[in-house]
């Protein structure tokens, strides 16, 4: 356990002209912690995620990330080369639509191996062995290793995307609606898999979702966003069982019971 957070976000805002993307968001994330960001479409949660993952530059505010050497670095002052290096080594980004995060026309094995090759692994046998291992960890049969993700089901694609992201042992993973658009049974399998991987690997994760059940299952902490602002935050079960903000109460009361 370390006493320093992995990510320190302070007064982060993003404006699109006069429109608010996200406004004055601050929080800290520790290693091994999963933070869910919930809210309806347009609440600014995806803007926040894109700012944090440096896919988008904020209008103001800072975000410090503790590098592997223990030094805090200001994300928005890093060079693009450094940010991209972080992105393919120490970070992962799981897109809602796997096609955005995968190379659909290269094999599953190459999709998993790409990050290894990007950091300089030049041994085919080793890369392939690692790919086989990761495919099995995300429950994809080894004999599918040379198939293109185009031939995969939605759930398999999403699992492949996860393997592709985790192969370099990242410490922080961003997820944008990771179970969106999947059948309920496929969702359950994926959630369980994610839960296990996050625990086993001690990953920190920021999960954007509009699905409160996903948030409850995956996260320990939660931020509720509305109109670009954080209206409530705290322990996930506290926010869901004792919602305080009017908007959170509305969200929680809108869950369909099965």
């Amino acid at each position: 356990m370390t006493d320093e957070p992995l990510l320190r976000v302070s007064a982060l805002s993003k404006f699109y002209g006069s429109r608010v993307g996200c406004d004055n968001v601050s929080f800290e994330l520790w290693p091994g912690e999963v933070l869910a960001v919930v809210g309806e479409s347009g609440s600014g949660k995806t803007t926040l995620l894109n700012c944090l993952s440096t896919r988008l530059l904020p209008s103001s505010g800072t975000a410090g990330y503790r590098m592997r050497d223990g030094q805090f670095r200001e994300l928005y002052r890093m060079s693009e080369a450094e940010r991209r290096f972080l992105m393919r080594t120490d970070w992962g980004f799981v897109h809602q639509n796997p096609a955005d995060g995968l190379r659909m026309t290269v094999s599953a094995g190459a999709n998993v191996g790409e990050r290894l090759m990007a950091v300089g692994d030049r041994h085919y046998g080793r890369i392939r062995a690692t790919a086989v291992d990761w495919l099995s960890r995300v429950e994809i049969d080894e004999d599918r290793i040379d198939d293109e993700p185009r031939a995969f089901s939605g759930g398999m694609r999403q699992r492949l995307q996860i393997a592709r992201n985790l192969v370099t042992g990242p410490r922080l993973v961003f997820m944008d609606e990771p179970t969106g658009g999947l059948d309920v049974s496929v969702q359950a399998r994926l959630l369980d898999l994610l839960r296990g991987l996050v625990t086993d690997l001690g990953l920190a994760a920021i999960v954007v979702t509009h699905d409160l059940a996903v948030a409850r299952l995956l996260s320990q902490r939660m931020m509720v966003m509305k109109d670009g602002r954080v209206v409530e935050s705290g322990l996930t079960d506290r926010v869901l069982d004792d919602p305080r903000a009017p908007y959170t109460q509305l969200l929680v009361s809108s869950i369909l019971q099965v």
Binding site: R103, V106, S107, H123, Y124
Partner: protein, 299 residues
């Protein structure tokens, strides 16, 4: 001598040639880097060597001796046409002899005869971007070059091994130039890749449609990409040239009849003819001596 007054020397106007020379100089200064240039319309369609022709037109002088080859041959339509073009618009001497040429414009081969200092090899390039088939966005590929993010190139080689058990890429085989830029050597067979490495000749690459020029200055490191456990290898042929018995050269398959008859002959016609003139004979060489047959009647 034919009159060339109706054209500016070497067809292009002087301002255009200066613009292209600047791009060439920049390319030489940054080996392997693709320099954008304002490619001109040429009196031939894209895909017929407009990039190479513009580069040649910009560097050629009245005292140059030009050789043009297409897939190694001096006698195919493209080679003959371009050679005739420069004869007409620059009134330069032309040749098929590799050793005596000062500028060699090529489509998809490097001559077998070793190039020497002072020679310039001009490649016609259809698609200059080695990352293109894996990453369609130009903005992204440029960023990848700038940041030296070349993992993707190995993804392609990985796919080859996964599918075929070995690196099956046989032409346009990607190389790393001077330890920095990954470059497409144009669709030459990978057999020719080692010839680029530390070549004493200057190598210039022109892509007319894609509007890019790049260069490998003399004595520059050119290394073919590979894996530790699947090292780069050139093609080998299990028989010598059927006409001149040459070994360790690149061979083309020639179909002889409709019954499956075929032979393998040197793709470099100049090399093959020289050897036969020197008395080398392959097992299918005709009885009559070919040495007296000249491709280009002397004028």
């Amino acid at each position: 001598m034919t009159d060339i007054a109706t054209y500016n020397f070497a067809y292009l106007d002087e301002q255009t040639k200066r613009m292209i020379r600047r791009a060439i100089l920049k390319g030489i200064a940054i080996p392997g880097y693709q320099v954008p240039f304002a490619s001109r319309e040429m009196p031939m369609p894209y895909g017929w060597g407009t990039g190479g022709v513009q580069v040649t037109a910009s560097i050629i002088g009245p005292n140059d001796v030009l050789k043009v080859i297409d897939q190694g041959a001096d006698d195919t339509t493209n080679a003959v046409s371009i050679r005739a073009f420069f004869k007409k618009v620059a009134n330069v001497a032309v040749t098929t002899d590799t050793a005596s040429a000062t500028i060699i414009q090529t489509r998809h081969r490097i001559p077998e005869h070793p190039l020497t200092a002072g020679q310039v090899l001009v490649y016609q390039v259809p698609i200059p971007e080695p990352l293109r088939f894996l990453e369609p966005r130009e903005t992204e590929t440029r960023k990848m070059h700038a940041l030296e993010e070349y993992g993707l190139m190995h993804v392609k080689l990985y796919e080859d091994i996964a599918k075929h058990g070995r690196i099956a890429t046989t032409y346009a085989y990607p190389v790393k130039v001077e330890g920095r830029y990954v470059m497409d050597p144009s669709p030459t067979p990978k057999f020719d890749n080692p010839k680029m490495h530390r070549s004493p000749a200057l190598q210039l690459f022109g892509a007319g449609r894609e509007k890019r020029i790049y260069a490998v200055p003399p004595f520059t490191e050119v290394v073919s990409l590979d894996f530790e456990d699947h090292p780069f290898e050139v093609q080998t042929f299990d028989q010598p040239c059927a006409l001149c018995a040459a070994e360790n050269v690149y061979l083309d398959e020639v179909i002889l009849d409709d019954h499956g008859g075929h032979m393998f002959v040197c793709s470099d016609t100049d090399h093959c003819e020289k050897r036969r003139a020197d008395g080398h004979r392959g097992h299918l060489a005709p009885e009559t001596h070919l040495a007296s047959e000249k491709m280009e009647p002397a004028q």
